[in-house]
Amino acid sequence: MLSAASETNDLFSMTAASPQLQAYDMAHQANKLPSSKAEPPSPGVQESVGGTVTNEGVVDFTMMPKIIDSVIEKHDADNALRSTLIKTSDSWTRKRQENLLTKIQSSTLGASDIKSEKDHAFDLLDALSHSGSLPISYLELHVIIFVTHCFEKDVMGTVIQDNINPIGKLEMTALLIASTIHGVPANLLVCNGGELSRLSASFPALLEAFETDDRVESVET
């Protein structure tokens, strides 16, 4: 499915099976720990891993951009992170093999073709779901939140003229977004102690707010 390489570099180990994350999840769900989100959840809604979950167990993904926006506003002093809208173009390309003996042919789908394909797909979904009475169970849903880190100058200009380390800035961005996506403090995402201390020195506001040892101890008790 979506090529979801969870590890952008060696710094992070963000697997769900991480003992620290599991312990944090348990404590978080039991409301033993304060939330790491910037916005307080609305009544009837509790923040959970990777989004907000209401008391009925319904996930509200629309809260995610607002949470990310507030986290960016709090931690991104350079004003470089932008939430980004994703839309699809009106012109698609389709490669199709009419039958097993013919060659694959490429064709362009215009707006009317896309509309026709959509109608066909909806007709099939209508039938598969018995007009909505039968839930569709065999599926995967991928929810994507897109953030762009913008540097005003080119690489040399950013490093020399602006005196900015773009790799360090991107590390901070990755920590911010990963922390929001996984719903855990950023310091729990870094396994290597040496890297944690280095990152804490670079981004004190992001990492020093949480003390790993205290977290783990409180979870264990």
Binding site: L2, S3, A4, A5, S6, A16, G50, G57, V58, V59, D60, F61, T62, K66, S70, I72, E73, D76, A80, R82, S83, T84, L85, I86, W92, R94, K95, Q97, I104, L109, I114, A121, F122, D123, L124, L125, D126, A127, S129, H130, G132, L134, I136, S137, L139, E140, L141, H142, V143, I144, I145, F146, T148, C150, F151, K153, L170, T173, A178, I181
Partner: protein, 323 residues
């Protein structure tokens, strides 16, 4: 299914995302139209996609989806709205080695600080409007892609055991054709035997019989429609030939010595038209007209004994055109 972007060398490669599988049981509503809303229950993955750019160098990204031979799925994508609701923008069925490449359009929103600076000088009412507008923009920035497996859902719909349709390619194709092309109600096709001890093959055969019954009805309707259209075409052509013949009867009869009867002159006209017909379609149509069985024309198919010889009929045509 993947999203690809151009790297520094211009080659397309998959993007990296920060991904997490949500453990909560998803119950997502997808409105297909005003009357129908489907409910989706399945695995959910949350992806954080971070892109960086220097200056104004915007990269292009494509959503690429492909199906293997004899496999199929529905791809639905749109934006997440409200509580667990996906507003579908587009959808497409992919099957049998189909591959679709969908370019993605990216629209960067201003940063939170930029936005605050921009609205600082506005009136409170305008600020409220701007904030509400930005909130709506942020809401619509959550992109959802849903992959729905058709075969598995068909098995559930038809009351068949899991994987019963895995090797039934023809049946699967027929089912999809019935649902997509003919919008056949799904009530007509499920397994409906009362015998609980039937094995998988018998259950599939039961469904096959239902499918064949519906296909027979459709086939009969097609045949009847074809016959009606052919009959209409014959009748229209018949009246056209009659009209043309009547208008040129005097000329043809004058050339033939005024001794031909109605059917003979008609035959001469058709032969002449065949020899002078510009397109093959006209010739075929005329040939059919001449070969039509007697019961369809309602008169004798062959010219009477005193009709002119075919050679003479063919010679009559130039006389008409010369005149």
């Amino acid at each position: 299914l993947n999203i690809e972007g151009a790297n520094g060398d211009g080659e397309m490669e998959p993007i990296d995302t920060l991904a997490r599988e949500l453990e909560t049981t998803l119950s997502l509503k997808v409105p297909l139209n005003a009357a129908t809303t489907i409910e989706l229950k399945g695995k959910t993955y949350l992806h954080g996609w971070i892109q960086h750019r220097f200056q104004r160098n915007h990269k292009s990204y494509n959503l690429i989806a492909g199906a293997r031979q004899f496999s199929s799925f529905v791809l639905v994508f749109g934006t997440m709205v409200g509580l667990a609701q996906l507003k579908p923008k587009e959808a497409i069925i992919l099957q049998n080695k189909d591959e679709v490449i969908i370019p993605l359009l990216l629209n960067e929103l201003p940063t939170a600080n930029e936005f605050k600076d921009a609205i600082k000088l506005l009136s409170p009412e305008q600020q409220r409007f701007a904030k509400a507008f930005r909130s709506m923009q942020l809401d619509s920035s959550v992109f959802g892609v849903c992959v729905i497996q058709i075969k598995s859902q068909l098995e559930e719909l038809l009351g068949l055991p899991l994987d019963a349709l895995t090797k039934e390619m023809k049946l699967t194709q027929e089912l999809m054709e019935l649902f997509v092309e003919y919008q056949v109600p799904s009530d007509l096709l499920p397994y409906d035997s009362d015998d609980e001890n039937l094995n998988v093959k018998d259950k599939v055969d039961n469904v096959k019989s239902h499918v064949q019954a519906v296909l027979d009805v459709i086939g009969n309707a097609k045949t009847k429609q074809l016959e009606n259209q052919a009959m209409g075409a014959y009748l229209a052509f018949d009246s056209y030939v009659e009209e043309q013949y009547n208008s040129g009867r005097t000329m043809a009869s004058g050339y033939c010595g005024g001794s031909i009867d109605s059917d003979g002159g008609r035959h001469a006209f058709l032969s002449a038209a065949m020899s002078k017909g510009r397109s093959g379609g006209v010739r075929q149509c005329l040939a059919k007209q001449m070969r039509r069985p007697e019961q369809m024309r309602g008169r004798t198919a062959h010219p009477p004994a005193h009709a002119p010889e075919p050679r003479r009929q063919l010679q009559a045509a130039p006389a008409r055109s010369e005149r």
